[in-house]
Symmetry: C2
Subunit: 707 residues, 2 copies
């Protein structure tokens, strides 16, 4: 092989060093890194840097595109990486054990913590999060003093935890889980049981091969009474031998489309016994005498609170959507700056892809999305703690409901957009985007699951719609709900209204753009409320049927529109602060942000122009104006595009894509990578069979039976 490389190196004529296009585009604008960091880390970049350091220093953290492991190896590696991260950080946490709680319960800090591992390898990050957040936080949120030992064993690495909620036949509808925890007063134990095969716990991350203990959701049965789902700590394996405990069956859910380094498993319990103390009993408790006591008498409300812990997973998705888009765009836009294709006849050089308006139109709107999404998630981060500290306070339920509804919509909108963005990035890099080493395919395959886990997007949007209906119905009844973000909701009919702007300039003003989004959400909300009312007034129609029949074009669309509106609201607020000087930065950054705000609003309007034109709220001329303005904006954003993606995480040392090297040498990077990739040279192993003389196969095409 080496001799071949030598031949090659002697043989190819070296070309004159090409112009460093990446540098050229980079230097077109100066984006304020400090402001970008403020948006990204909210003041906790030090936490990010601390969690990033091991990724740079410890050789176990091989770059993701450089690893080509089979499933088994991949899972072993994931455990070792999780463990390594754990070990590197233990001094920080062990110095003050309250830091676990401090960092994991505050989404601002948790965001800063999660960035490095998440952007390094989504599967490893998930593994870390399932163990330390889902399991640990469940014990923290729902347990009492008697469960301290589990928190300790997880935080000191003497247990690996998993989170056993979903079952084979109940994924979205977790209310319908069938696993039982029956209290046996005689022995003061709970009997955990899987009543039938479809009630097996399914998709449980970490369960199949590595977790030693699990937080199991099961219906609490006392005597004849089912008190609904509660959470129980159930040990799974003998920690000395790692064998599964008798009375439990654990297996693997098999190969997945992505995040295949997580050992998702299924669990069946065969009347497995645990001590009474293993019930997480902060909210509800069973006494020695078998008496059920609860602070939250309403079972629906109780379940909502028990499931509250998942919300933290959702806000992580909300925040990581723009960051993963940022990673994809950093790849695709760097590539677009370096890759030339086609040109004017007679010109010496072809034209870089980034110069093509169509290419800009494919990618720049996602650059705009990023800021709307980051600002939206920051708004959630900021409000989370204040609202969620009152989790068990019934008076705080309106705030919690609003937060939950908002998170539900954002989780759906952001995760879907990220998926589309990654797909567009991959296509925008052509065939080279199809290389595993571009990382785009990896990002996409791993990201894909975000759309259906932690609450299926389409199901979550129904929860948003339900909340918004409550808001307008209260308003219709003259009773205002206390809200934080619903100042846009109007009970004045908007059907038939026209946008009030009189000139193009007026239309394009920030406040008017915001109003346009207000209008759409009000229109959809009022229509949905009316349609629901109409259907429900027919007593023969079941409310659930009315609900389901009002989804398409109405409630579903409403809930999506709200998520978009929320991002526009936060982006708008940010732009006003920039313009007023409340946030100080340089002129390039103000320009870039202002352009992106407009681009975000206008491309979102354009994508749903049919709805905005409903009842002629916008006119055909508005449509033209929007399109012309988008074209103008694309040309203006170009100058900032590369400078912007260069501010995104990760920096060069951890950045991992063959087709987007930071030094601008696109082809050098590709050649260097593929020459040294696995099995780069040689012949296929079964080469001696490749040209075997064609067999006569007289029977072959008849129905010889197959094994």
């Amino acid at each position: 092989m080496l001799s071949r490389l030598n031949i090659l190196q002697c043989h190819v004529t070296s070309q004159p060093a090409p112009e460093n296009l990446l540098d050229k585009y980079r230097k077109m604008s100066t984006i304020d890194q400090k402001l970008m960091d403020d948006i990204d880390y909210l003041g906790y970049k030090n936490i990010t840097e601390m969690f990033e350091a091991p990724l740079k220093s410890d050789p176990v953290f091989v770059k993701e595109t450089h690893e080509e492991l089979n499933r088994e190896q991949d899972r072993e590696a994931a455990v070792m990486k999780m463990k390594a991260m754990y070990n590197h950080l233990s001094p920080y946490f062990f110095e003050d054990m309250n830091r676990y709680e401090e960092v994991f319960t505050d989404p601002i800090k948790f965001n800063a913590l999660a960035i490095p591992l998440y952007m390094y390898n989504q599967g490893v990050s998930t593994k870390y999060t399932v163990n330390l957040v889902l399991f640990y936080m469940t014990v923290l949120n729902l347990g009492t003093a008697q469960h301290e030992k589990w928190k300790e064993s997880i935080s000191t690495g003497r247990d690996l935890g998993c989170f056993a909620l979903t079952e084979l036949s109940h994924g979205s509808n977790v209310r319908g889980i069938q696993t039982t925890a029956t209290y046996d007063q005689e022995r003061d134990e709970f009997i955990i049981n899987t009543p039938n095969d479809v009630a097996m716990k399914f998709w449980i991350g970490g369960a199949s091969k590595s977790a030693t203990v699990s937080a199991v959701f099961a219906n609490l049965i006392i005597g004849d009474k089912n008190e609904g789902p509660h959470v129980f700590i159930v040990p799974l394996r003998d920690k000395k031998t790692y064998n599964v405990l008798p009375g439990i069956i654990i297996g693997d859910c098999g190969k997945k489309v992505g995040q295949d380094n997580i050992d998702n498993g299924f669990i069946l319990f065969n009347n497995f016994r645990i001590p009474r103390e293993n019930m997480l009993n902060k909210m509800s408790n069973v006494t020695r005498e078998g008496k059920f006591e609860t602070k939250i008498p309403n079972p629906d409300h109780r379940l909502a609170l028990i499931l509250g812990g998942i919300s933290q997973g959702r806000i992580l998705i909300i925040g990581f959507s723009p960051r993963i888009i940022g990673y994809g765009l950093k790849i695709a836009l760097r590539f677009a700056a370096m890759r030339r294709q086609f040109g004017k006849p007679g010109d010496k050089e072809e034209i870089p892809l980034i110069e093509y308006p169509l290419h800009q139109y494919r990618l720049f709107p996602y650059l705009a999305n990023i800021f709307a999404f980051k600002l939206a998630s920051n708004e959630i981060y900021y409000n989370w703690n204040e609202i969620s500290k009152d989790l068990f306070d019934t008076k705080a339920q309106q705030s919690i409901g609003e937060l939950h509804a908002t998170i539900s919509s954002l989780k759906a909108i952001h995760s879907w957009t990220a998926m589309r963005a990654l797909q567009e990035c991959r296509e925008a890099c052509g065939g080279l985007g199809y290389s595993y080493y571009s990382k785009l395919g990896i990002l996409r395959a791993n990201w894909d699951v975000q759309q259906t886990w932690e609450g299926d997007n389409n199901v979550l949007l129904q929860q948003t719609a339900k909340y918004l209906l409550d808001v307008i119905q209260a308003k219709f009844k003259g009773k205002e709900l206390k809200t934080r973000w619903q100042q846009w909701v109007s009970s004045e009919p908007v059907e038939g209204a026209q946008n009030e702007s009189k000139t193009d300039e007026e239309f394009l003003q920030d406040d008017n753009l915001l109003k346009v989004f207000y209008h759409r959400s009000n229109l959809l909300l009022q229509r949905s409320a009316m349609k629901m009312a109409g259907k429900v007034s027919d007593k023969t129609v079941h409310p659930l049927d009315a609900w389901n029949d009002t989804q398409v074009f109405n409630l579903h669309h409403l809930a999506k529109s709200y998520g978009e509106l929320f991002g526009v609201m936060q982006f708008h607020k940010f732009i006003q602060k920039l313009k007023s000087g409340e946030i100080k930065t340089n002129a390039d950054t103000v320009e870039a942000m202002t352009l992106l705000f407009q681009l975000h609003c206008l491309t979102r309007i354009e994508a749903d122009l049919g709805t905005f034109r409903d009842g002629d709220y916008l006119t055909s001329e508005h449509g033209d104006l929007i399109k012309q303005t988008i074209l103008k904006l694309l040309g203006q954003v170009k100058r900032h595009a590369i400078a912007l993606v260069e501010t995104f995480y990760p920096s060069e040392e951890l950045f991992d894509s063959m087709i987007a090297p930071g030094n601008g040498d696109l082809y050098g990077s590709i050649i260097n990578r593929i020459y040294y990739s696995k099995d780069a040279f040689g012949k296929i192993k079964n080469w001696d069979q490749c040209l075997s003389p064609v067999a006569t196969a007289p029977e072959a095409t008849t129905g010889k039976s197959k094994q």
Copy 2:
């Protein structure tokens, strides 16, 4: 493990046999299988069956979701499968060697041939196609009697061929390739050379490990003159040892996002010599004396003809898009019929997903797309032979141009839609859609490449736009181009026109729906022409800049709209034949097709309502009508949905998805599959390190340098 399974089997309470929902939905409608077959196989189902038989009988054809191989094994397996298919079919081809030509040159027969292997495993099918179609057909189309030996060696399996067109720095812009073939008159040879490293042939399917010979595109150099790209047969490996020949460097392009069982490679030629006879010289020739002769003096036209062979790959994509959507939908809709989630309080059973209007809205429009796309591809199949027989006839260039433009648009529209459909199918199956064994992830990852190979979709659409501009410009000049499908093009201004229907019924009539699509394409065509004319009239603007600046919202949109229009035209024609009785079938089938035609038209209009409302061609009330009608249609289509997908390829024996078993036993299928999947039970190999006591890692978070 077995004892565990026994425990399980003893332990879980068997549930009462659940209702066979799949059967229930299946029986709701009777779809005419014969008509569906006519659409799918165009009278050549016998060819499909012949190529399908080995997949059923030969154990080498393991179902795709049942194989979990590493890259190397996967590639070996792909060679063996290709070879097996080859062997099984050799009796058929060897009986009459003209059959190669007959089957491969007729897209109707080739479609029938390709279905089984393509739907079995896209990578294996690609491998087969590269060898037997791309290589063989290139020799057939561009070679002469002196190249018979290559056709023979490929068809008898004594060579494996590849198609070396694209280079590292030239993918879309193949006109820019830099490889040279210099005529050496003294030795009567061509010298094939890679002038610099970015000119290496790149992404060449089959090249890295298995191909022995390649069709190389290189600029023909005679003396000082570059006669542009021509094709040369270049042997790559010593067939006795399978070593790469001296003077050639071949390596692997590395891991890919999908179709990773194809050994895509790069090739560098170091002044490698081939005999003069290896130039494919049907169109152009170099004499012994070094004189260049050509039948096609225009080099652009010549290149277009040389590249014509790729068009066949494109029509394969056009035809396989609806079939791959069909596979995905067969999975997702069967799943939707069997999977229950949520229900009315108090009801014993939850509701199957297929009953939810939102779920219907997510999937049924793709069911409608399938028929538009199949009928569109059939129209291309039918016309291909008649048009392409005149390939070298300059008088036939108008027809060829139209065919090429239409294929370009359809390839883009169909392949994109298939990608979106597969993504929606995966999401519609929730977490279970993320299982590798659902096959949805495999279909998607393999399909993804279709959007950027065989001509990048966004580049192809420019070729469509170019043709359409020529048509309208000719019309404006009063000179009608002879066209086959452009009767919709109007030189009467349509800007500001309103749809002529007076009532809802009139609006929804088939002819009116077709007119709505005519209108959009005319609007975009006239606007694009006007914008181009406006820009070009400014002499300071380079025509290429004018062209690029007119893409977004105009030419690009126009080209996409034409592809959609084409499908609607073919679907419309088909529906008229059904209604008139020209095509005879049963009442259910007529109803289903009629509903799907409406659903297809209305959902496509709804998706781009902003444009249809431009200039108020459609009103806000039309928008309402469209939405209400879609909702009604979804409810009506439900009855036919499962019966329809049941008619799609493949039938049960080859159908491969854990989450969509034909016997209706969803959970039985899942449990059975995962219990017997690889490494289903046990512990992680490095389990003894999982709980290792947490190390103190004092230096870890500082900048220790990494290897």
